[in-house]
């Protein structure tokens, strides 16, 4: 991990050694898969926790400020430190990485869910009540679908942020951090090929997942598109 300060750019090697990639396809695939798993689990659990907190904050308004403050503090801890500070408790494990990643999604997801549901027009909620919807049915059938565009935009930020943070978990060990394995391997050995591959694939993964969520939103909320076309 400790890098000698005097070594400069890796000038005397090609940008990419293609044979290395061919020889390490299994490793690269495993790193990519781990990156995806870490991201999905973090965003998934983060989303579930945020949903619970958002429901509590909407039901009991006094709880909004404290929840917002606690998740805000978690979000403000430098990512580098969060992965490390947990190691005395949970060790150099995937669990450590996962807890840190989840704690980064909470602030973004909590706020976007609350903002989305708060933004549902009151007359719509009133008409649902007048039509005899029970509170839980109203939440699931009316408020949640109408809040989807805002919630999904929060999901996009959370996902993209998580994809960018996963590589830093590579600090925790050689087999941690998804594509970060390749980046740290490259940094430690001053070897461009894995370094470049890890960084480029991370960016590509972030963009791909972002576009996927945009597509998901178009499919799930067709009315927003029709509205935009009419306007």
């Amino acid at each position: 991990m400790v890098l000698p300060g005097s070594i400069l750019a890796q000038v005397d090697q090609p940008l990419i050694r293609w044979p290395w990639i061919g020889d390490h396809l299994a490793l690269i695939g495993a790193a990519l898969l781990q990156h995806l798993m870490l991201t999905f689990i973090a965003v998934g659990i983060g989303f579930a926790l945020s949903m619970v907190m958002a429901v509590i904050a909407i039901r009991f308004h006094v709880s909004y400020a404290p929840i917002n403050a606690v998740t805000g503090v978690m979000y403000a801890i430098p990512s580098l430190a969060l992965f490390i500070l947990l190691t005395p408790i949970t060790g150099l494990t995937t669990l450590t990485a996962e807890i840190a990643l989840i704690s980064y999604t909470l602030q973004i997801l909590f706020r976007s869910i609350v903002a989305g549901i708060d933004g549902v027009p009151a007359p719509v909620v009133e008409s649902a009540r007048g039509m005899g919807f029970t509170p839980s049915k109203r939440f699931l059938r009316i408020e949640l679908p109408l809040a989807l565009p805002v919630i999904i935009s929060g999901l996009r930020i959370a996902t993209v942020t998580t994809v960018g943070l996963v590589p830093i978990a590579g600090l925790l060990g050689r087999d941690q951090g998804g594509l970060g394995q390749l980046i740290f391997d490259g940094l430690n050995r001053f070897f461009n090929t894995p370094l470049l591959l890890g960084a480029v694939l991370t960016v590509a993964l972030a963009v791909t997942l972002d576009l996927t969520l945009v597509g998901l939103q178009r499919v799930l909320t067709p009315w927003t598109r029709r509205g935009a076309a009419a306007a």
Binding site: P78, I84, T87, G164, I183, L187, A199, V203
Partner: protein, 241 residues
């Protein structure tokens, strides 16, 4: 409690303040990186935001820039930078600039764009030149939002600049990384405390700056004490003046 005690002992040890590994030196390194990144970002993002905000083009540019900006993983950028620039200050600087530009640009763009067109029309009607209009009307009205963008960037850069320690630049991230390699978690936590303190100082500075520079006419602080006193004594004209 013993952990807090250890932390106190760490900060109280003069050896932790001196020399190349000391707090003072690491703090200066951190501030050099944050300061250079913020200066470059301001030079790039503010004029661009003002220019595009004033032109009557579609507003989607800012949204797209903000989205692209969010999608850039800082650590991946630093890693890419190492390939071409070697380890040290420069790859970290590039990543920090890429991190800082989007919020400053988007909020400057939005702030200038959102200035009420009736206000601009009346300023033009009063005979203001474009330069005066920008200096006396658009920039003062846009200032609170612009400052908010710079504040957000500053906090993000201060926290993320710790990553520079992974590629051979110093800064406060050094305490986090070095503490981790020697399993000295007091040192790691001391690093976190220093970074958090720096973020809080930055937030307080921008809050103060906003209070001092934002025109009173734009705040909801209401009439000043002098105005209230004048109004109470019935001197309406003086208050209006």
């Amino acid at each position: 409690m013993s952990f807090l005690h250890d932390l106190f002992v760490w900060f109280n040890d003069p050896l932790n303040w001196q020399g190349e590994n000391g707090i003072v030196h690491r703090l200066i390194e951190h501030l050099v990186l944050v300061g250079s990144a913020m200066a470059i970002s301001l030079v790039i993002a503010v004029p661009l935001g003002v220019l595009l905000g004033r032109s009557r083009r579609k507003g989607s540019i800012a949204v797209n820039v903000a989205n692209i900006g969010r999608a850039i993983p800082s650590f991946a950028v630093i890693a890419l930078g190492v390939i071409w620039l070697g380890i040290g200050f420069r790859p970290a600087l590039i990543a920090m600039v890429l991190l800082a530009v989007p919020p400053i640009f988007t909020l400057t763009f939005t702030a200038i764009r959102e200035v009420d067109s009736a206000t601009i029309d009346s300023a033009r009607g009063m005979g203001m030149t474009e330069a005066t209009l920008l200096r006396r009307v658009q920039l003062p009205i846009a200032r609170p939002l612009m400052l908010n963008g710079i504040r957000l960037s500053s906090a993000a850069v201060i926290a993320t600049a710790t990553l520079a320690a992974l590629v051979g630049w110093g800064g406060l991230g050094r305490f986090i990384i070095d503490g981790f390699s020697t399993r000295d978690f007091v040192e790691v936590f001391a690093g976190v405390v220093l970074v958090a303190a720096l973020v809080l100082i930055s937030e307080a500075t921008f809050a103060l700056l906003a209070r001092l520079t934002v025109s009173p006419g734009l705040t909801d602080r209401g009439p000043s004490r002098r105005e209230r006193r004048l109004r109470r004594s019935g001197v309406e004209g003086a208050a209006a003046a």
